[in-house]
């Protein structure tokens, strides 16, 4: 056993004898105006307990009434994840915790709104989704004393502003096998959420929370070994680090004849490790039963059709559409879609621009956005370069100017003096130079390559830098032969 495997804290290359198995549970806060079961504002950052009422405080006698927009958003998300939308019932998940106003959480258990979907990663890989169900969020606890850490607190303060905020919990199948895929999954889910507008999906603000279920198995096997749930992951980077750490921790245990315990663990980003944590949700038995204060949801085929009809173009579809139009690999389109420039690209392709140039410029020269560039001006520019009317350097320059001013490429090229210089004009110039500098030309003809620069420099000066250096060299070489 190598030293790097024995110590999971050290960065090391992955041992191919093992395969990671990762499933992700992502809680998404829906961007509705009000909470799931009451009319209190669904708003982040207000003074404590100012967005509360008898229902979300769970006061004796209070009752829930479902927010119709939360249901609609949940179904939209389900369809965006290619799920089947089902009739659903709410259930009570019973356990005690101070941030739970009723000491049960209203969620969906046996019959969730959405099931059996998938996410397509930019690489083209499909990750199956088991379910995406609706549930209510809890309040927030602040631990006082002991540096804010729960284990050293002297007391705790509870704010119920967040209690009752609508959540959708998206549960993937345990079919990811690398931290890169896990990150790509979460990034793609975030992009889908932003595209549909059902959540602002900010990990750093808690409107998207990721828990990772991690286990390992010998490569080639189909077994599912003991997994650990890792919580407190607050960024994509932490997600990657936490998965890498945890998988290696499991391997180290197996390699030493031990095995990981099934438990919930807490990711400590600062220390770069996970710690065991018995979360209060590790109750053995939640005693689920159908929520008697709510009646079932029964979406109709028309409801679902309306959602499908109104669905905006999602990232995976956009990548596929561009890949088809440009006849390139799916992976070549990822950055374009990420930059929201696929519509521009498609428009340019339709206007006749060659795909290679379109993609190249988007990737290399439009990182800061299109500015005043349009599909037509973009197409014209790319075509000019492809036809040799502009050099690569010139094209980049003109593009930057179109982005800033919105003027057409031909106008800009003319203003900059980037007139098309064809070979015959250069031949004439070369003739003149050869006549003026016969000794230098003779040295070039004998093989002196240094003097080549002399002639190229003269031509560049004569054309104010607009000659294509490569073309000049080619013409000179052709004269010799």
């Amino acid at each position: 056993m190598s030293k790097s495997q024995a110590n999971p804290n050290k960065d090391s290359t992955w041992n191919d004898e093992w395969q990671m198995v990762i499933g992700l549970e992502v809680h998404v806060e829906l961007d509705t105006k009000t909470k799931l079961f009451c009319g209190c504002a669904n708003s982040f950052g207000n003074a404590p307990n100012t967005n509360t009422c008898p229902t979300c405080l769970g006061l004796p006698g209070s009752l829930p009434v479902i927010n119709e927009t939360a249901v609609s958003y949940a179904m939209q998300l389900g369809r965006a994840l290619h799920c089947d939308v089902h009739p659903s019932i709410f259930a009570r998940k019973n356990y005690f915790y101070p941030d739970m106003p009723k000491d049960y959480q209203v969620t969906q258990y046996d019959q969730p709104t959405n099931a059996d979907g998938h996410i397509t990663l930019p690489s083209g890989k499909q990750i199956g989704i088991e379910r995406a169900h609706i549930e209510e969020d809890t309040g927030k606890s602040t631990h006082i004393g002991g540096g804010g850490r729960i284990s050293d607190a002297t007391y705790t303060l509870v704010d119920y502003n967040r209690a009752g905020v609508p959540l959708v919990e998206v549960v993937s199948n345990p079919v990811m096998h690398s931290s890169e895929d896990a990150r790509a999954y979460v990034a793609e889910l975030r992009d889908i959420l932003l595209a549909t507008g059902v959540s602002d999906a900010k990990m750093e603000e808690g409107s998207m929370r990721v828990d990772a279920n991690v286990s390992v198995r010998p490569t080639g096997s189909n077994e599912l070994r003991t997994r650990c749930e890792i919580k407190n992951i607050n960024s994509l980077r932490s997600l990657g680090r936490a998965i890498e750490y945890e998988a290696r921790r499991h391997i180290a245990l197996y390699d030493s004849g031990d095995a990981p315990r099934q438990e919930t663990r807490h990711w400590d980003e600062a220390a770069g490790r996970s710690r065991p944590g018995r979360s209060k949700e590790d109750a053995d038995d939640y005693r689920y039963f159908a929520e008697p204060d709510l009646v079932p949801l029964a979406p109709t085929a028309d409801d679902i059709a309306a959602i499908d009809a109104a669905m905006p173009a999602l990232p995976a579809e956009r990548r596929q559409a561009l890949a088809d139009a440009a006849s390139v690999e799916l992976s070549a389109t990822a950055l374009v879609v990420e930059r929201n420039l696929d519509a521009m690209a498609l428009g340019s392709l339709e206007a006749g621009a060659p795909a290679a140039g379109v993609l190249k410029h988007i990737e290399n020269n439009l990182a800061d956005g299109p500015g005043k560039l349009t599909a037509d001006t973009f197409a014209a520019l790319v075509s000019m370069e492809a036809q040799g009317d502009l050099t690569a350097t010139q094209a980049k320059d003109v593009l930057a100017e179109i982005v800033e001013t919105g003027a057409g490429p031909k106008v800009i090229a003319a203003a900059k003096g980037f007139e098309a210089m064809d070979a015959s004009e250069l031949e004439i110039l070369l003739d003149g130079l050869i006549a003026e500098h016969p000794q230098e030309w003779a040295r070039f003809a004998e093989g002196d390559r240094k003097v080549q620069g002399f002639f190229v420099g003269k031509i560049m000066k004569a054309t104010q830098g607009q000659a294509d250096g490569k073309m000049v060299n080619a013409l000179m070489m052709a004269r010799l032969g």
């Binding site: 105006k33 003074a47 404590p48 009422c53 101070p98 809890t138 979360s279 209060k280 709510l294």
Partner: protein
């Protein structure tokens, strides 16, 4: 005392098993209602003073409790 009372009650309840229940749907709602929803419109909330004054302990407009056992969530 509780145990023997619970047993007696559960014996009574055990009679439920004598009925033929295989093809019967459970009734969780007496009324066959579905799709009861409300519009996503903000309604007035309570003010913290409305309920914190009757809280067992409060500080800074939050409910104050002894330390919570277990890990952060």
């Amino acid at each position: 005392m509780f145990t023997s009372q619970m047993s007696a009650i559960l014996d009574h309840v055990a009679e439920l098993q004598t009925l033929e229940l295989n093809d019967v749907e459970p009734m969780s709602h007496p009324m066959p209602l579905t799709n009861v929803v409300r519009p996503d419109v903000v309604r007035p909330s309570l003010a913290p003073a409305d309920f914190l004054s009757s809280a067992p302990a409060a500080e800074a407009d939050m409910f104050k409790v002894p330390p919570v056992l277990g890990e952060e969530r």
